[in-house]
């Protein structure tokens, strides 16, 4: 498949990532955690695809598969025309410079003993993309791009505020001029008043550098704000994908509806008009997912067939797909 024909930077087909559950001294395999269980989606050049869902539904695992930090159990991941799902690590490495990653905890993902200069410049050094003598200039340029003062280059991570650390993380992700950035909960750890600074920075960088984002978060209002399209995950599967607006205005999957209704809105008048769908029970374990549609035990419209059949991800319109037998 040629990425240039359909404008897709990423094409994921039937991706599965199972983690073995082992038992005893011999670490005998007794089962699988089906963290990602047969998902398919594309991300276009210059697009932001949001990935939402509750804790443990497989968002991070999906992101790590795309970055090939995990070798998927099965399925294909086409990045810029090349299927990277099963090529050896040696061949992945040169491709990885086209991908950046930003994580939730900017502190945990930055080496506490390294200077900000080394942190931001490391990817360039690793990929032999820079002469030592040019490093300072390049890092200053990156700092400028993300709104950090270049006089801060010699500081170590704990000398930055949370928001500044996240900017440093973004600088590092941008170092090698990537085309794709996987943003995994990039603002969840930040103060409320700082979150918008980072969201706006990411939007600005996307425009000026033509970046493509996979934006992972559990906060649907943030995801919806920043994304062109949003994919909703539940227990390892994608239940619905739609345009940001369309997902809000006409959600089709019962889980999407419940999720939307649970998101608080900072407006008491709107809040009082909204009907809250309170789901019963809790998310089952991905080690023992329900049969058929994973959502059926908590679904208000499920019937016998939902226990039996895995609903396919059906296309409703050009931009809207849903996986539900009742739709």
């Amino acid at each position: 498949m040629n990425a240039h024909q359909n404008n897709n930077l990423i094409e994921i087909k039937n991706l599965k990532m199972y983690f073995p559950i082992t038992k005893g001294l011999l670490r005998r395999k007794v089962g699988d955690v089906k963290a990602v269980d047969d998902i398919s989606f594309d991300i276009k050049q210059n697009e932001t695809l949001g990935l939402v869902g509750e804790s443990g539904c497989g968002k991070t695992t999906t992101g790590r598969c795309i970055l090939r930090l995990y070798q998927p159990t099965s399925g294909s991941i086409v990045f810029n025309g090349t299927d990277i799902s099963s090529i050896p690590e040696k061949q992945v490495r040169p491709l990885r410079r086209h991908m950046g990653a930003i994580f939730q905890d900017p502190y945990g993902s930055l080496n506490p003993r390294q200077s900000a200069r080394t942190i931001a410049g490391m990817p360039l050094i690793v990929h032999h993309m820079i002469d030592k003598k040019d490093l300072d200039d390049k890092v200053a340029e990156l700092f400028n791009l993300v709104g950090l003062d270049s006089s801060m280059m010699d500081r170590v991570p704990h000398e930055f505020s949370g928001g500044q650390r996240q900017r440093l993380g973004i600088a590092r992700a941008l170092a090698c001029n990537p085309s794709l950035i996987v943003c995994d909960e990039p603002i969840s750890a930040l103060d409320v008043s700082i979150q918008a600074q980072i969201i706006n920075l990411l939007e600005k960088l996307q425009k000026s550098l033509g970046l493509t984002y996979l934006f992972i978060a559990h906060d649907l209002s943030v995801v919806q704000h920043i994304s062109d399209r949003v994919a909703v995950m539940y227990l390892g599967r994608i239940v619905e994908i739609a345009n940001s607006k369309e997902l809000y205005q006409s959600p089709l999957h019962p889980y999407t509806k419940a999720l939307l209704s649970a998101v608080p809105v900072p407006n008491p008048v709107r809040e009082r008009e909204r009907v809250r769908i309170v789901l019963k029970g809790e998310v089952p374990s991905p080690a023992h997912p329900p049969t058929g549609c994973h959502f059926h035990p908590r679904c208000s419209i499920a019937s016998a067939e939902c226990e039996e059949f895995i609903p396919p991800l059906n296309t409703i319109s050009g931009t809207h797909q849903v996986s539900c037998l009742k739709v």
């Binding site: 008043s193 979150q195 918008a196 559990h218 943030v222 704000h225 419940a258 809105v265 900072p266």
Partner: protein, 330 residues
Amino acid sequence: MSVLLDVKNLRTHFHTHRGLVKAVDGVSFHINEKEIVGLVGESGCGKSVSMLSVMQLIAIPPGKIVSGSAMFDGHDLLKYKPKGDEMRAIRGAKIAMIFQEPMTSLNPVLTIARQVTETLELHLKMDTQTARKRAVELLKLVGIPEAESRLDNYPHQFSGGMRQRVMIAIALSCNPKILIADEPTTAVDVTTQAQLLELMQEMVNRFNTSLVIVTHNLGVVARYADRIYVMYAGRIVESGLSEDIFLRPLHPYTIGLLKSVPQLGQTKSDRELVPISGLPPNLIDMPQNCAFLPRCSYHKERCRLEPWPELHAVGAQHYVSCYVDTRETS
């Protein structure tokens, strides 16, 4: 409407090796009967310390309640000895508290049954049998399935959402006048958060309890709170009815917060987020004037020269602490 708890001019400071932290610096608030009150503000602004001070749960040292009163049932709670019998009779019984991370507030080595019955035996002097029966009822009430058979489980056998339900059951077990929920849903998912908030609302309605929801998430209080206090750097900067705060905000910080958070249903093409510039202050050795000044786009010369303004009334129940009339500027 009668006032249940009336806190005036509360100041709680911490002496640290880096300097004096004025965590709470002149906070006044009240809780009416059967009212749901929201206390919102960013991390470190002093929300928890305010609540813990009223309950006299501040570690002394490094902390010290420097001034203030907290009138409850005709008595000033801050006059009681922190570990004395009078305070003990209030804490957990008359005023109950739920904390952010239930794993740390439930004792991991005691069964759920033990932890629920403990409060009942201590405050309501129930015998073991009666307390156990009541515990089952309470757990059923907060939606623990098969409550009877789960009574002898340990906290780690419960999910985060279920542990929080147990905390709610314990908090309500003595039929308190006030329930303070400090970030009750920060550690759980959004659908669980919705379940818990609906549950708390239902419970306080049923028991005629007042509820204080402490949170950094503005959205959470919009649905439930009758009245809201907005806190910044150890002070209340604005308070009012929910509608006042969300629809007619007046303090530059409140205005800034509302402009900076995304709203469900709006995308980047509908509305650009306007961030608040700069960083929240650290509370060490704060200047005398308004702590929001360095981040404020409305500020005038006066804000620089004069001390942090007192709250003044701008509506029936609407108060704001700012020299600038933001309605004129915008």
